[in-house]
């Protein structure tokens, strides 16, 4: 879906849904996740549909993930750090499962 045009200076390791990924140091988290093959980062609140990064600048709130235990963080506004633990599918997804249609 996306590829890197410029080789990064260094790499760090983050875990996404428990799996380790080597990503470019200092990279935007949403970019790192797209490169790692995660197109959808969470499910929508009402219909439970896949959502991925959309606006890339903190406006749309579609790229919400859980970072080191903190829920609903905007992946497009965060840079990766070594050892960062990310979970896709925020609590909004869990909420969607309990809401009757």
């Amino acid at each position: 879906m996306f590829r890197r045009l410029v080789e990064p200076a260094g790499h760090v390791t983050v875990t996404i849904d428990g799996r380790p990924f080597s990503v470019a140091a200092g990279e935007t988290l949403s970019t790192a996740m797209l490169l790692a093959g995660f197109a959808g980062l969470r499910r929508s609140a009402r219909l439970g549909r896949e959502r991925g990064p959309f606006c890339g600048m903190g406006v749309c709130f579609d790229c919400l993930v859980t970072i080191d235990g903190a829920a609903n963080r905007q992946a497009c506004l965060v840079r990766v750090r070594d050892g960062m633990a990310v979970q896709t599918g925020t609590r909004l997804a869990a909420l969607a499962d309990t809401v009757p249609e």
Binding site: M1, L5, A24, L34, G40, S44, M57, V59, C60
Partner: protein
């Protein structure tokens, strides 16, 4: 503890220039920005991005590094990675600026004067399937390019209208990134309406730049003009893009679809701070009402750059300088060493704005794309369709606030940034009213979602020392 003389919100060209000029005039300044370094969106990655220190993204982008360096040299304090959630004017005329500095932390910064330079966001382009992963805005793709040096892989389609669409296509072309198709959705009549603005355009820097961009993009890309409808197709992610032009309907495979519909001011913060905003019928957007220095009807609240009305990076920088001079005059009784400098910035602003009316007319979106068909999702957060909104209007919802109450459109975490203008356009089309009479959904603080921990941490700060 003493408040800062000036708090600036936003580290794009307007905020950076305002900081440099205010600091040069002897003011104590604090700058706050959501990003990780100076630059905002237009100059994103100027310091440490993938193309920092290169000319690969063009001379306009390279200007960002110069401005960022001037800002660093100014010694102005800055909080990066921090989100301003509220600006309140106190009874004594000073300001309390609430800033989320972490997911469980927030501080209040006090200031005599505030300059909001929160920039622009892309106008929503609601189409069928635009919530699918793989569909992004052109601005998002450009951000990934600037910050991380990452580009689309596999079949990519650009769709919509606006100079940024062609700028991105030209930047990709210059870097050897292939775009399969650019679907231009601008209305065919735009050329006619733009004609009377041609003299201004020819006198502008866009004339040369614009033609250069077009040539680069045209040579490398298949461009289809007069596209009337676009749809994103896929199950859990994008697999194809369908479009219609006259009687022709085609579906093309795509892994990435980049949408663009022009840019509009980000008004959530300034609206929630109580500043008056007005509908601009030529630009199809709400803009704050400002005087020549950028001051709003909230005394001491200034607005500079694209958040006051779209003018581009150079105009934004000039407005940042002019706002800083206005602040200096307010606090010190003089706008720095001589008013020749101020006159020069005013002239630069006028020159930068030349040609803007032409671009606004040429790239105006189609009415059918501003007010989309019934089954298109308008509010992405709450998954409210255009049909839901129309039904609410027919059932008596008088304006956007009632539509919100009837349908939940605008109640999600983006706080109507993605659906506000579309909701207004639908109400306008249904009722025949002008957006100027309809108004926008009421925008309130906190302007971004906050955690309970952030609110709790606010109570025991409140002084300048909290951020020292």
């Amino acid at each position: 503890m003493m408040p800062f003389d000036l708090v600036i919100v936003g580290a794009g060209p307007a905020g950076l220039r305002a900081a440099v000029e205010a600091a040069a005039g002897g003011l104590s300044v604090m700058l706050v920005d959501e990003g990780r370094e100076p630059g905002g969106q237009i100059y994103r990655g100027s310091e440490s991005g993938a193309f920092a220190g290169t000319a690969k993204l063009g001379p306009d982008y390279a200007a960002g590094a110069v401005l960022a360096a001037a800002f660093r040299a100014s010694g102005v304090q800055a909080l990066f990675g921090a989100t301003v959630i509220q600006i309140e004017r106190e009874a004594d005329g000073s300001f309390c600026v609430s800033v989320a500095t972490g997911h469980d932390k927030a501080v209040v910064i006090r200031a005599k004067v505030v300059i909001a330079a929160t920039g622009a966001q892309e106008r929503p382009f609601p189409i069928d399937g635009w919530t699918l992963p793989g569909v992004m805005t052109a601005g998002a793709a450009q951000t990934m390019l600037k910050a991380d040096g990452v580009v689309p892989d596999g079949p990519v389609v650009l769709a919509g209208t606006g100079p940024l669409l062609y700028l991105l296509a030209a930047q990709y072309a210059a870097l050897g990134v292939a775009i399969d198709t650019l679907l231009d959705t601008a209305a065919p009549g735009n050329w006619r309406r733009a004609l009377r603005h041609v003299p201004g355009f020819l006198a502008s820097r866009y004339a040369f730049k614009g033609l250069g961009l077009l040539c680069k993009a045209l040579a490398a890309t298949r461009i289809i003009r007069g596209v009337e409808a676009v749809a994103a197709i896929g199950d859990t992610r994008l697999s194809a893009v369908a479009y219609r032009k006259g009687a022709t309907e085609r579906t093309i495979p795509a892994h990435v679809l980049l949408l663009h519909h022009g840019v509009v001011p980000q008004i959530n913060l300034t609206w929630s701070a109580g500043a008056q905003h007005r509908w601009n019928a030529a630009r199809l957007a709400f803009e704050p009402v400002r005087d020549a220095s950028g001051q709003t009807d909230v005394p001491g609240l200034f607005i500079a750059g694209d958040s006051g009305g779209i003018g581009g990076a150079q105009a934004a920088e000039a407005e940042g300088a002019l706002a800083a001079f206005g602040v200096l005059r307010m606090l010190r009784g003089t706008a720095g060493d001589d008013d020749r400098t101020e006159r020069q910035w005013r002239r630069r602003l006028a020159v930068s704005l030349r040609g803007r009316a032409f671009l606004d007319a040429l790239y105006a979106p189609r009415q059918s794309h501003l007010s989309p068909p019934d089954d298109v999702i308008v509010c992405r957060c709450e998954e409210v369709t255009a049909g839901d909104i129309r039904k609410a209007v027919r059932r008596g919802a008088m304006g956007p606030n009632q539509v919100k109450a009837f349908t939940r459109a605008g109640m999600g975490p983006c706080q109507s940034r993605m659906c506000g203008l579309t909701t207004v356009a639908i109400i306008a089309a249904e009722t025949g009213q002008s957006p100027s009479d309809i108004g926008h959904m009421r925008l309130r603080a906190p302007v971004k979602p906050v955690t309970v921990a952030q609110i709790a941490s606010l109570s025991d700060t409140g002084e300048r020392s909290a951020v020292d």
